[in-house]
């Protein structure tokens, strides 16, 4: 029973060990993933509605305000 998973793990371990060009590529992939998910996502590209509002109904309310604001008396005209 245990043979199969062990074989599979061995397949991956051996594969990674015998890589040459692959090692460089994995480094690139890892650095890229860190930049994308840690640096870019956390510090520069937050999800605007998720960080600003707590609930879906608040988010819906906000978007509804934006798409109807042009006609709300006294409302800020966001649309150039």
């Amino acid at each position: 029973m245990l043979l199969m998973p062990r074989k599979i793990v061995g397949f991956y371990v051996n594969g990674f060990r015998s890589m040459t060009l692959g090692k460089t590529l994995w480094k690139i992939i890892l650095i890229k993933l860190i930049i994308i998910f840690v640096v870019i996502r956390l510090f520069f590209m937050p999800d605007y509605l998720n960080t600003r509002f707590k609930t879906d109904s608040e988010r819906a309310q906000h978007v509804m305000n934006v798409i109807t604001r042009v006609h709300v008396p006294g409302g800020k005209n966001l649309i150039p």
């Binding site: 040459t20 590529l25 890229k32 937050p46 999800d47």
Partner: protein
């Protein structure tokens, strides 16, 4: 002042999206095309059992692996941009596209973790048949993982199968199959993937031509050229066929885009197709200036291609802006009036809901439903704003089509001369072969420019302009991330080219 900032913001957000999408689109079509070419090469190896086909397969697989590794996950940045810069749009469509995209991502991950691993680690460790099966699964899986994002793009161009729910300010799925099989989604998926096959084939031709010019790995280069030119030729013909289908669906669903990429200002019956032309840059909607400085036209062909009916009327930009009642074309001027009613009724519905006045809410909702097809026009200030940048769209379209025709010729000539074993001495042709990859990228990027610039000002066709889809954030932060992405992608691109060139230099013998 406020208007200026809004425009600046939306333009930076658009520039950022264009930048990242175009960089992302360097890696994707190569993955789509090379994955299938690897599967073809390996199938020949398994069928013939000849060692040279195995070496050849492993060589192209290595280049495929480099491209895949460097390109993988670059598309995620586009998704972040939706959430940060285009949050109103994201919210409005998130319900529909969020889940399928997440499932697709998950399936792709497991597919890659298993079959990619076999493809790269499995030589000599699994049976030939299973290895080949894995290579095919990678090819099919990679192409299928482009499906939903293209369906989503198709929906933005032709929003069908969904209804707007004013209580949630969201579009909700009404009919999944209408979304999946909308004519725009079908032509988009087929045209885009086949253009990737074409590009992958040009890549193989380009590298092989370089080897032949250098007198290296001649046998491998010729074998590769034969397979790539057959696949390339079939793909290029299919690209032409699906491109015609895309233009037809544009004529039906996005006539302004068609008018822009054809430079058609005044609608005509029996309209001609501009094969080649230089636009008059001073031409504006509604004026009487000549639209072209110079043009070569094929009489009647546009009517035939746009409506599949010879002699039929094709509306021009002016008809679509100011209307043409004789031909039953409603102009953007009238649509703006109706769109403003839709917005007013939506606001009235919201207010009535807040006050708990159900009767008033119901009345407003009914009126909104009567006018909702024009909702997006209500946000425009003038009908001329419904016109996309004509020059960029026109030249991009004509470059794509002209190059598409050239590629058919290139594949055909390469195939014939290689089959006759006369390709080696053809230096000029081989140089063109090397260059053809860059032309392929130009055609491919130009295609997206036609599709996306040609549908401005819309984020969702006729329903949501980019000026409303965007988030109200600081323009400075969008500028900062624009330059960050420029640097990140440039570094990745340099890595891609550098590692590729090194491996090409090493050739099929290397590790």
């Amino acid at each position: 002042m406020l208007e200026q900032t809004g425009l600046e913001l939306v333009n930076w957000a658009r520039a950022q999206f264009a930048l990242t999408a175009m960089f992302h689109w360097i890696f994707v079509p190569l993955t789509l095309g090379l994955s299938f070419l690897c599967a073809f090469f390996e199938s020949i190896y398994v069928k013939t059992g000849k060692e040279e086909w195995r070496r050849l397969t492993r060589f192209w697989m290595r280049l495929f692996g480099i491209n895949f590794a460097i390109g993988v996950a670059t598309g995620i940045i586009l998704e972040f941009e939706f959430g940060t810069n285009w949050s109103n749009y994201s919210w409005m469509v998130g319900d529909i596209f969020g889940a399928p995209l997440a499932i697709e991502g998950l399936v792709a991950f497991f597919l890659e973790a298993t079959f990619f691993a076999v493809m790269f680690f499995g030589w000599d460790r699994v049976s030939k048949g299973f290895h080949l099966f894995s290579t095919w699964m990678v090819a099919i899986g990679s192409n299928l993982s482009a499906l939903w994002i293209l369906v989503a793009n198709g929906w933005m161009q032709f929003p069908t199968g969904m209804a707007f729910n004013p209580d949630k300010a969201r579009f909700e799925m009404q009919n999944f199959w209408d979304v999946l099989f909308s004519p725009v989604a079908v032509s988009k998926f087929t045209h885009t993937t086949s253009s990737g096959f074409l590009l992958g084939s040009l890549f193989v031709i380009s590298v092989s031509s370089w080897y032949l010019l250098k007198g290296r790995h001649k046998d491998m280069a010729k074998k590769s050229i034969v397979v790539a030119s057959v696949f390339g030729l079939l793909s290029a013909l299919f690209v032409g066929f699906t491109g015609d289908e895309a233009a037809y669906t544009d004529a039906q669903k996005q006539p302004m885009k068609l008018a822009a990429f054809e430079g058609l200002w005044k609608g005509q019956e029996n309209a001609g197709l501009v094969a080649l032309g230089v636009l008059n840059p001073d031409k504006r909607p509604g004026d009487d200036k000549d639209p072209f400085i110079f043009e070569i036209r094929v009489p009647g062909l546009l009517s035939l291609l746009a409506n599949r009916s010879p002699g039929s009327f094709v509306p021009g930009i002016d008809d679509l802006v100011y209307g043409n009642s004789a031909q039953g074309v409603m102009g953007a001027d009238e649509k703006i009036k109706r769109g403003k009613v839709a917005i007013q009724q939506l606001a009235a519905y919201k207010k009535a809901q807040q006050l708990g006045d159900q009767v008033a809410a119901e009345t407003a909702l009914q009126k909104f439903n009567d006018y909702k097809a024009y909702l997006g026009f209500g946000y425009l200030d003038s009908p001329e704003q419904a016109v996309p940048p004509v020059g960029i769209t026109f030249y991009s379209f004509h470059a794509m089509v002209a190059l598409g025709t050239l590629f058919i010729l290139i594949f055909f000539i390469f195939l014939v001369l290689t089959m006759k074993d006369r390709i080696e001495g053809q230096r000029a042709l081989l140089l063109l072969g090397v260059l053809s990859l860059f032309l392929g990228f130009i055609a491919s990027e130009a295609g997206w420019v036609v599709a996306e610039v040609g549908r401005q000002p819309w984020a969702i066709q006729d329903l949501l302009p980019v000026t409303v889809a965007r988030t109200d954030i600081n323009v400075g932060s969008v500028k900062t991330t624009f330059f960050m992405f420029l640097v990140t992608f440039t570094v990745l691109f340099i890595a891609e080219v550098g590692i590729m060139l090194k491996q090409i230099q090493i050739g099929p013998e290397g590790k």
